[in-house]
Amino acid sequence: MYENAYVDPKQKVSSLTEGEDPVKLAEFEERIQRGEKIEPKDWMPKAYRKQLIRMIEQHAHSEIIGALPEGTWITRAPGFRRKLALMAKVQDEVGHGQLLYSAAETLGKTREDMINDLISGKSKYSNVFNYPAMTWGDTAIIAWLIDAGAIINQVTNSKGSYGPYCRALERICSEESFHLKYGHDNVVFLATGTPAQRELVQDALNRWWTPIMHFHGPPDKVSQHTEILMKWKVKLATNDEMRRKFLDEYVPKIWDLGLSIPDPNLKKNEQTGQWEYTEPDWDEFKRVINGDGPCNKERLQVRRWAEERGAWVRRALQKAEQKYTVPLA
């Protein structure tokens, strides 16, 4: 999940607005209704702030952790141009992490707290990055299809109500379009190449299909909770809606290349216009997101290693008179 809003259904619906000033709440909702953006210093319900911090922070972590499986392949990328392109992509992802951390900071959580919560395992990040990029084929599939899923999520969320998040997402989406083209180019190159190259990319697709289907998160029903989040434009589409959009756009493109998708039930129902598919293993999703995936431990260890190694530099540069200010926008 590149973070869609989520409220535990066990939580009382009234808890989302409990204790809020009804007049201010009405003004806030009217503003959103009119299509205006909410800015950092505006009044907002506590539950709105909490949801957004959680969403934007986890999105930021996903960008940073997402750079790890691909970064691994920079030294082994075939050819100079691909090395340059992959380096640029990885740098973009880290840059997106920075933009998103800043957006979350405007809501009052410090960057140090966010990084600590990532390293200690308190905050989550996109589950797909707990899987390894086994071959060069995997990097091609990640750059094309994981980024495609991310773009669908990000374009959707960029229509949200919180100004700083929307602005960050717009910039991110325009940069991601290069990632998508780069990934597609790599997949096409392999799929139209030698039998060994085709096998490489088909293997990667088979390996990544489950994580790709997991990407937008488990099916969520429209409950009273989600209705409030949708009214506040924190949530703009259900997980299934985004997954269907992804399938609609990308399955035909995968089939165009003569590649097969490891789901015999995957087809578009011509009558309903909806995609039908086998539900991916959601138990696996839960297991992995709770720490038991092939790479969870390594990802966090590498992140912790980097922070520990950098600590003396960061502390040496600190000045006694420095004072943290919440960024403006």
Binding site: M134, E175, Q301, E307, A311, Y324, L328, A329
Partner: protein
Amino acid sequence: MKSIDPRVNRMDLPSNEDGKEILEEQENWETYEVFHQKKRGEQHIHVGIVHAASPEMALIMAKEAFGRRRQTANLWVIKSAAVTASDYEDQDVFETTPEKTYREASDYYCMDRIRKYQQEHGIKDRKEERRNVQKANKEVKK
């Protein structure tokens, strides 16, 4: 599983078991607002923020974050703390601005009065004279 990244395998990775926090408060220094100018002659526009320990470092971070992809002529960085902003709560003070049409050029039209005066006093309309001349010239050409 053992990492497939040889570089990771060479690292002396710390144990993650204790879930301990690492960063201390303010370890990521201060925040700077970044302003980006695309071309010489254009305005600097606010594009976001960076964390840095000094203005010089903020410029380097801004160059990586906001100058690596798009055309850039110049960057400014300003400590967030140095910015004084108006309050959105007071946004209503600007509400009457669009009503102040007397500030707009389009709100001033006096041709009707001029024409009326010219007709009453037998003054020829310059523009109409010119149009007549042009018309006559065209007919001569034909």
